[in-house]
Symmetry: C2
Subunit: 259 residues, 2 copies
DNA sequence: CGGACCGGTTCATTATTCAAACCAACGGTT
DNA sequence: AACCGTTGGTTTGAATAATGAACCGGTCCG
């Protein structure tokens, strides 16, 4: 593992529930020597990628990311585009909508929109990492990924998050096959109890899957009419977002959506 | 220069007008060997910090920054806080307001807000890098920086951006002294013709300057009454933002603002 | 006081980076 | 076609930087 890889991988130990990390803890988490970690952090600190908190001298993510994220967004406005489409989609369905993107082997939520229509709604967190086997977005993404990647994901331990989580790789593969046919994935209570979500894949210019767009609703609200509405709107907006981002549906992807 | 520093400094060559950079160009910009640059970029690419565009194989900033910026913002919500204060400030003054933060020796705009009140307004860009000698934010920041940093900045060549740009280090030092007395910096047409801006410094918990908050208006609109309004509102909101971010004014900082 | 942490530093050993030359491929000229 | 100047990417001993075990000086706790 190269030095740069080591340094950057340190950053991945920060998450929502662990926003500051001390030197020794970072050394333990990464398995690297304390001196090495110190040097890497010091170098990253000089560039603003991490900074030290006043008290305790722990490290946290630095301000450089604000700048670089803004530049990334200026160069590739996926987030803005997603946000715009999600606003329409959540408005049309009255439910929470979100877009998650594939980064390597992790699926990260990059944008979401709520509808004010109902008092109850499914809530989302920014930059949340989704699992593949128990979210509709994960299933939609996986269904259009290459076989090796699917094997890789399904060979790992699959967390049983709720009583309804499906953890049998064979059954999941059967589900993926259905998703490929219909173009849409569903998940009922597999990630959070009482949440019924629909998701469709998003594609880039080479028709490779790059993420998914989803609508999440309380199961209590999922009547047949409501489900039909969600599916219709989701099909429409998924296609729209893929096109806005300069992508193309793969050959054979079913496209029965209403104009 | 350490390896990590080299790798991270490559990222700083991306900006708004140069969002993709090829291998050879990056080697030229950084002064590093092509082989080294290639290895560094490859490592960063594996972590999602850069990615290659389909055509031309050039590199651009990667998606990892969206995630890390969201986590940074979750840990230290400076941007959100700034945005909230700016909304009020631009509303109260009817002019464009913005906050810029000091990262090492560069001053970067992190948030801004427009007022819909007038048809003409000063426009801003996200993640824009400001110079110190010809912006009110730069002068406000510099006035409360330590002497060594001021010497460093003023010893560099000072760009004469407009006919009104002051480039004489001696006169700039005199201006900084005035800014320290009044707590507020002004700049008339030194950055953009016909823009009159006011700025005040922002401080952290150790009373070190961390950036500035500013109001920028067309010179044509700057009557005595309007200027008095802007100064009053700016004083109020600058103090408010410093406090919201957990900072304290340094001893002796003048505080004659209206409650 | 003694022990167990913490963040940070030292220095001989070891691995990486450097520079320069070299490939293969592409797009224009001649 | 031949040539030219590019591009991204790769290879080579010689120079340089990274590494990790031990070490320092704190602070907290009993």
């Amino acid at each position: 593992m190269g030095t740069v890889t080591k340094a950057l991988s340190l950053l991945s130990f920060f998450n929502r529930s662990r926003s500051t990390i001390g030197l020794s803890e970072m050394a333990r988490l990464s398995g690297l020597n304390k001196a090495t970690v110190h040097r890497l952090l010091t170098e990253m600190q000089a560039q603003g990628f991490v900074e030290q908190t006043g008290a305790g001298r722990e490290y946290r993510l630095g301000p450089a990311f604000l700048r670089l994220a803004a530049l990334r967004e200026a160069a590739v406005p996926t987030r803005d585009l997603a946000q715009a489409v999600l606003a329409d989609l959540s408005q049309a369905t009255g439910e929470t909508a979100h877009v998650s993107m594939l980064h390597g082997d992790t699926l990260v939520t990059v944008a979401y929109a709520y509808s004010p229509q109902h008092g109850t709604r499914v809530t989302m967190e920014d930059a949340e990492v989704l699992t593949f086997h128990n979210t509709s977005s994960g299933l939609a993404t996986l269904a259009f990924s290459e076989a090796g990647f699917v094997d890789e994901i399904l060979s790992r331990p699959l967390e049983k998050r709720t009583p309804h989580t499906e953890t049998d790789p064979g059954k999941i593969r059967a589900t993926l096959s259905d998703v490929r046919t219909s173009g849409m994935a569903q998940n009922i209570g597999g990630f959070e109890d009482d949440v019924h979500s629909h998701a469709m894949p998003l594609f880039d210019a080479q028709s490779h899957v790059i993420g998914a767009i989803a609508v999440a609703a309380p199961t209590a609200r999922m009547s047949r009419n409501h489900q039909a509405l969600i599916q219709r709107e989701l099909r429409h907006h998924a296609l729209r977002l893929t096109r806005l981002m300069g992508g193309f549906l793969p050959d054979g992807f079913q496209r029965e959506e209403a104009a």
